[in-house]
Point group: D3
Chain length 318, copies 6
């Protein structure tokens, strides 16, 4: 049960457009704050896009996601879960990136997430581009490889870009498998689609045992069946959830750098998360929201709705 | 049958981007005009947002809806209905609100709709925020409570906001039940979803007999089944139709103040109206279109398409 | 098999946001270039909107489509086809329209497509408004009427506009049937919807044997069934594919001049093209993208994704 | 003096965002209305862009200008003039163009303005692209050539475009001089700037005696001096005022098809009109507002502010 | 001198796009926080627009102003002032409005500013619509009427709107004079322009001795001369500064509800504030920023730049 | 004199919205093309923003600048210069950056510009963020330090960011002085303004002899006087021109990452370039255009107008 310190501000007291915007109107508690000891789930911003190979912007994601997240209320309309009653949640602020140095940023992020883990806080991270999942996994998976359920239109399993660059938002999970942060047999990637240069990423997936569920299979089998398989792949071990907003069709989520048409709608975008009920979630992220390509804020509104669903399954069994 | 005076301007004569924009290019006939006696259905603008608790803008709705409504032609592509042949329709202009005084606005609206009712004109209102349904019902339901089929993502059945404010766009139907304008046993709310602070509105619905069909049930059962139940609940008595544009998923209707993701698509948005065929409709509204959040006009275009469908079922049996 | 000269620039070499934008990063080879002899499929821009009766803008389509097309990679994620390996493809540049003279533009286009046909190049054209299909057919169908599979929300079979104008984007296929460029018995129109002034176009379709599949039938029967019928109607003879972007629901493709709500989503928009496998395609177009109504570029991104699918089926059996 | 019938609706009675939008909230009186006999100044929309050689959109101008014009009040803040007290003003509606036929549109416009002139109404026209000035002059100048004070960044004196097209928005005043609608010795063009292909237009101006004041001279001499010369050139004879919104710098008026940077600011844009006091104005236009390039409406707001200033000098001495 | 607690976060430590956005990256200290005792200048958000008679949106102002204010650094480039060194500054958060009740909001604001005054904190308020200046003055001017230097395109001295509504953003200073919060002889209004319904506000100004400097006089005399007069009018007594963003030309500040063209540019917008050096400033506001009409954020960026200049003159002599 | 091969496409032949967009519609000739030998001035795109510390986007600059540059015609309206007649100009394409590696990108750029210099081509570069000026200078200044006239609101003379990153868009000219690419005594920076963290950059400028002209001095002295001093500082030696679009006021150029309000207008933005006549220009750049913050394209239009003026002075004396 949460304590009153950790209740979000109600829109009946202060209208939702008012006030300094923290994630879901939760208290802002940094890692240096003594109250961090009481936090069970921390919402973290990862404002970077140093790994972006195409259209930049995710560095602005956390700011816009905080803004739109003040529209979130206290209770899940579909499942009835009240996450802020079930766990002490807080906004831990943003990890400080170095916009001019990718490798330095990776180190800063790894350090931050190691500290968070030591503090006993599970995190729900708002990206940032998808490369941020790598240092998060480095911070979280120090006891051995973890499983992952990954929603995306891309596998992010490529070897390198631009004649040898190994750290981009197209490579984090290749690195994570290589660094034994992920157990590839316990990894499933859902929603993959779009054009490709070749089959390099799919071949790698096959060779290490990562399960790839393309969008055609996703639509044909339906969400309950696909997600049952996903839960089975993840099993009961510690599992990370990574949700790239470009999993969703760009009509519902235009604000991202590498959209692929032909994806799920917003109802399906929420449903897949609700089907995570029962998974042993050690952390989660929602990445690749790019505000410059979404001035109306619709992508961010969907993204924070997904974050709220993630929070509800994270507290579900605890 | 309509008279030639009430035929809309054809796009073959005057291109659809030209001319002073009235609703669906109908003649503009005010309540003071003697021709009002010939009008059977009046399209009315309700340009206000004094009841809005979050993001404002619906006061600009009627202007934008008139603009986009000039894209509407004469015949329904799906049902073949030609509403302007079936009934004398006219644009009655806008009710004058008082943007600085909610209570005065309520009075002005009640007065207007009472006059309209005395003139024997049924109305299709373009909001404006959802609070406008309350004075419309006050004007229309003077002979006793009416039924209602209500499309929305919110119940609008809350008691009060901000420490006691009882007249907001979240409370109109609570007031309408209390004031015995609505017969709660003949009210159905369809599409409800999103986060909530608590269950106060749902508890009230249960206690008075309002039927709430959440979005999950809506998608599971399908439109024909849900709408059959809706028609049964409304029965053969006088029934009001209230359509909040946030019923529709925000990818299809971003231009609204309190969108909730995970809603119906635009085809479903039209289908539910076609399923109203046979209902005894005494009036209807389409509310909460907020142009500042929809500069491209897509929301307004969908909204006027829905208004045209509403018009087609309003004339259907007459 | 293609030659190396015709391979598009890879995003691993030059990032996709860089470089002079040609269609799909292919070489730019004009009709006057001797290399035209090696080209099998030519991508052509038709930057005009002189036939537009309502909201203009498609003259800017080819520019924006080239821009977004640099996001396309080499291989189809769903079917595995690699069109640039299968055929020598090139960007032939734009046909020069006369923005101040519709009839002159028609002549210029007819001349261009006659030359292209003589050069033995099949074309995939990026419009431009839908009137451009008429001079394309004049250029291509010189040996006798062809069949057509046509995706659209409108039939474009009207007789004339504005008191006698016979060449607008609402009339190309009426003219094409009259001029015996199209064999009406081998023409199918899919996705038709929206309001109408009357039944003139439908009556004409019936009278000459054009098959019209309205959107309600499309959704009810499903894509495989509808497309099987379409392939049967087209038969094995030479067939033109005309794809108006307003076939797709405006939430997915807002950037067009005459959108009609209630259409297919982006996955369905791609699926119908994949079901063209086996059709004897002599040319294709994707028309009515209007950048001024789509500043975020989502419509163009969907449109070039559809163009890539069209390319994949055009090379499919060759 | 005006009669009460011709007073615009006050924003104190009906808020400025409400109501069916006519120009400056004036009564809508068509040429067929018997009340036309009482009208002294008519505001007319010319919704076309058939003469546009580059980026289209002005066909949507009158709609947006009517919308923004509801922000105009009754009295000029700088000069104290109250135009609606001084003359009976009305919205005459739009001239019906033929979007598919430039020559037919020219004829329709000439006919309309001839009728207006016969009705004894002076007009203030809201374009539409600049070609509309030609048929207006044909309608107005039937008694012989008139003078003109012309604000623009282009001379619009070119001979032809695209290998012989003589009727575009770059040629109206060449034609008007050739047709002896304008007396070139009484014509002055102010604000000319931007790149050119050659000196053809300037050479023509010199050869017939049109005075061209480039922007550098405009800024160097200052508005009072330049406008004194303009008044002297126009003299006391009948004079037409043509105001292309691209006269103004595009930071102040982005919504136009062929902007040229380095122009006057909005204060100067108003000042030049105030300096027309005393000119014998027989008609005026404000053209080239293109809403698709100005979704925020700032250009239209400036344009209607200029139209109000034009109205104030049109009634000034009458 | 400030203490280290009150130094804003540097962009060299945490990039300016990162972190929870408080005003100018200052610490967030509420009135209930014991540290309030150390605060000398408080930045306050007043998120309301209940007094808005035309286009709403300023309720979203403080959120966007906080966002853009993270671009502000520590030192004034023109004057060299370092306000955060000179005084302890903090973000006091937002006053909670009641969006559904203007009178209740006025009371809430008055209470808040009374408490602030008792705490010995001078405030710089970010609106919100201009009606907020009234309760601020009620809170601040409890010892007797104060002077005011007021930058605006409107006088906001009207008696009432909509048949008797006395509390709108067009009336605050009429009320403030009537309530003896302002000493009209020590009030100057600068930049007034635009159309009007009549002279009621100007007549009132004259009758009580308020000095109105219209924009024509402003431009003719120049800033140093005008501001010297303004300082003389304000004298050495306690003076409030009220800055409506619509003082600035809408090309520089489009994001506001009632823009008037023909105003100062952004350099002049800053210069007038620098000329306040030496005035005895007891509080200041920057109001009427409306984010829905300024999605690009340029208005907010100018507004926070003005707020920074205001802060620099507020600390100037202390 | 140029040869016909190097004449841009005329808008009278192919409308300006048509065709594959190269810079100013010039032929596209890469360094590997034998025709490079005939090129005198090369327009180059530098699509990167790896040095950006705040809001990204300039990597998209060259694409948008090419698009808008098709609006440029052949002759300068103010000076009469016809640059494409005076010199053989061509579009050399884009330098390939590595978006994931700043140091690798710097090397790629240096290599490219060294090759260009060896080919005897002077370049006009379209950025890209301002860090690109460093490798350009490395390529060009191999014979010893050069002078520079620099238009900007920032000095870009900082030592490092984020705890030691020495290569950002805030440091290029510090590095260039340290690497003896620039002769600081022959460097002048014009238009500097905005807030700062401290005086580190100004102190450095003073210590090495770089002349900084702040915006206040710029406005007070006027352009002719300031530019005469600039020409004197540059002297007759080889001089580089660097033009950051944020030199211009953000109302005229919103599309940039670090705008500072209170800058020159667009007329002044062009005038300063015209005053470069006579300077010995060895190369020039126009940087920091960020399309995601300028969807309407106004910034790019101003930027290409400035590029055209730069081209006119580059060919001026040759």
């Amino acid at each position: 049960m949460s304590t009153s310190r950790f209740q979000p501000v109600s829109g009946f007291d202060l209208p939702r457009f008012a006030g300094v915007p923290t994630f879901m109107r939760l208290p802002h508690i940094t890692l240096d704050d003594p109250d961090i000891a009481d936090v069970q789930i921390g919402l973290v911003g990862a404002p970077w896009d140093g790994g972006t190979t195409n259209r930049p912007g995710p560095r602005h994601g956390p700011r816009q996601l905080r803004d739109l997240s003040t529209m979130i209320r206290a209770q899940n309309g579909a499942t009835g879960v009240r996450p802020f009653d079930a766990a002490n949640c807080a906004d831990l602020g943003d990890v400080a990136p170095n916009p001019a140095d990718v490798m330095d940023s990776l180190d800063r992020f790894t350090t931050f997430y190691s500290r968070v883990r030591q503090a006993g806080v599970r995190t729900l991270t708002a990206g940032g581009d998808h490369l941020c999942s790598l240092p998060i996994l480095r911070g979280l998976a120090s006891d051995g490889p973890v499983g992952m359920i990954h929603f995306d239109s891309h596998t992010d399993l490529f070897h390198s870009y631009f004649n040898g660059s190994m750290y981009t938002h197209g490579t984090p999970f290749r690195r994570a498998v290589e660094e034994e942060l992920l157990d590839p047999q316990r990894v499933v990637q859902i929603g993959i689609r779009g054009t490709a240069y070749d089959m390099e990423d799919r071949d790698f997936a096959k060779s290490v045992g990562v399960r790839v569920i393309a969008i055609e299979e996703f639509f044909e089998r339906g969400i309950p069946d696909v997600m049952a398989e996903a839960r089975e792949i993840a099993g009961s071990g510690p599992t990370y959830i990574s949700y790239d907003i470009d999993f969703v069709d760009p009509a519902f989520a235009p604000g991202t750098g590498t959209p692929e048409v032909g994806g799920p709608n917003s109802f399906q975008a929420l449903q897949v998360v609700r089907e995570l009920e029962g998974v042993n979630i050690i952390g989660a992220d929602l990445v690749e929201v790019s505000p410059p390509f979404d001035q109306a804020g619709g992508t961010a509104w969907l993204a924070v709705s997904i974050m709220f669903e993630l929070l509800c399954v994270m507290v579900g069994r605890h």
